[in-house]
Amino acid sequence: MATQQEITEALADFRNQCNENARLRKMQRDWTKVLHLVAEDNDSRHTMTVVAGETTKIEEGLVGTPDIIVTTKSETLCDMFWGDLNPAQKYLSGELKLKASQEDVMRLDAINLIIWPDE
């Protein structure tokens, strides 16, 4: 089980990856969202704020009203934000649960795809 601290570290790295990726910033230029990240197997909770494609804040706990809620096991959350797993597979198998519009569901996976493209 990944701890809250481990997920925080993963998110910090993810934030850098997102903000330094020019292609991603271009695609997300009109995307402003609040994401709640919930580990279903422990008390780990995080809030990620994206403003015009820039990930501006990563906070521990659930802050504000979310546009997207991601719920899965803590290990999956950690691996996902380190880029070590394919979120689409977890989503299609039901292990990754999302509350979001269909467009945002696709964009979330697209972020992962652009930063860590499949070989």
Binding site: G64, P66, I68, D84, A88, Q89, Y91, K99, S101, L113
Partner: protein, 501 residues
Amino acid sequence: MAEGHLAKVVKLRTVVSTGAGMALATVSYSASMELATLVLGDSAWIAILVSGVLCMLAGACFAELSGMYPTAAGIKLFIQHAFNEKAAMLFASLYIVVALSVVGAETFVLARVLHDGTGLTAIPPWAWGLTFLVLVLGLNIAGIRIAGAFQDVLAYAMFAVLIATSIYAIVTAPGHVHTPLLPGHPASFAKAVAVGVFLYVGFEWVTPLAEEVTDQKLISRGLFWTIWLLFLAYALFNAGLTMTMAPAIQAHPQDPMFAPLIDAAIDKGALPAGLDRAALTYDQAKQAFGTSVVPHVLFYKYMFGGAGIVLIIVLSLMASVTSFNAGTITASRFMYALARDGSLPKVFSRISIRFATPYMALIALSVLCMLVSIIVFISAQYDPESYELFIFLGAFIECLIYAVMACAVISLRRRQPDHARPYRVPGGDVIPVIVAIFFGFLMITIVIDRPLVGAVVAVAAGLAAYYGWRVVPRMRAKARAARGTRAPRRPGRRPGESEAS
């Protein structure tokens, strides 16, 4: 902060407008007339009601499954958990065949509406159809989606106009209602119910909205109200159509609008060759009218003249755009997800950086739609009513999917009895069993009447099975191997240790 509440949630009215908007397509009007020719008098509403009730029971099964797995990946996931991955791939593939069947018939009928309605006969119908598909592709690639309040207004306006004009037609129709409670021969009635199922096809596409509602019961309620709205619209439209046009044909069999229809009915054997045209019965007049590919254009033209033609063109475009826009976007995202999963070639996971849309999946879907449409247009050169095959093909596979969903409910109640179920189909397994039996019966009815449908489905299922059971495992193994060579980024992980597959 309480968990689970989104800033923007989809409300019941949008669930209903999405489901009803998806189901009501231009081809629905033609299918509605087809249904009317299969029953006596003005009793089509009974077949529409029976199919609506069956779809509602199927909807209840969808609602239970959607509550268990509230995801846009629903259909595949339900079957995967209830049975296995191979079955899930097979039925997900067949579901795409349904979508393509509907598109083929829809594009054909819409093209005829535009061709016949506008009077611009220099532009052949296939050109209208392909232009429409290209326009929709452009909208979808640009990420323009009819959604939210605009979608609600569009869908409800469409239904309001349809219902209002139908009521007007009923009230002003000459003569009396003919045999409203006597649908006729059971075999023909069963076929009518099968066509009736086609009228509701797409209503269950609200299940992807499960990710955008906070209360999963909205999906079950939405499915329920969607069916009722569709029943009301179709029953009234059907009644208005037959009660107006059948007497009109009886009164004016030599009219240039009606004479060719009588000729076509005689040619196809629906009416006897030595018919006394001056003494057509009500049902004979219906049979004649049923040969028109665009009965709704003739109906609105007869009722309201030039204004009626404009109205039906607008209604048809609205019906097609709402169906195509939502359906193609949803299907393309599913294709994108399958490509990311390794179940489809990687190329379909390409994203447009400018528009953030899965453009390759959209292009592929549109090309497939165009190919199916071309097949329909070519076959219509030999048999103008050949597009009906696609209606029955779509209805058959939908019946199959509904039956499988019912079986999935029963299976999951045994495999996962403790899984949370925000909505549970009442009455134990009775309703799922009824759904499985009745839709299985309808499938048999369709195949007996149209053996070609069974042949097409068998070939499609064979191809889907080969692809899903032989090709996909190899693709996934290759993708897993590629990921396995990549060093994990997470600190403390060794290569091969991560869940990167």
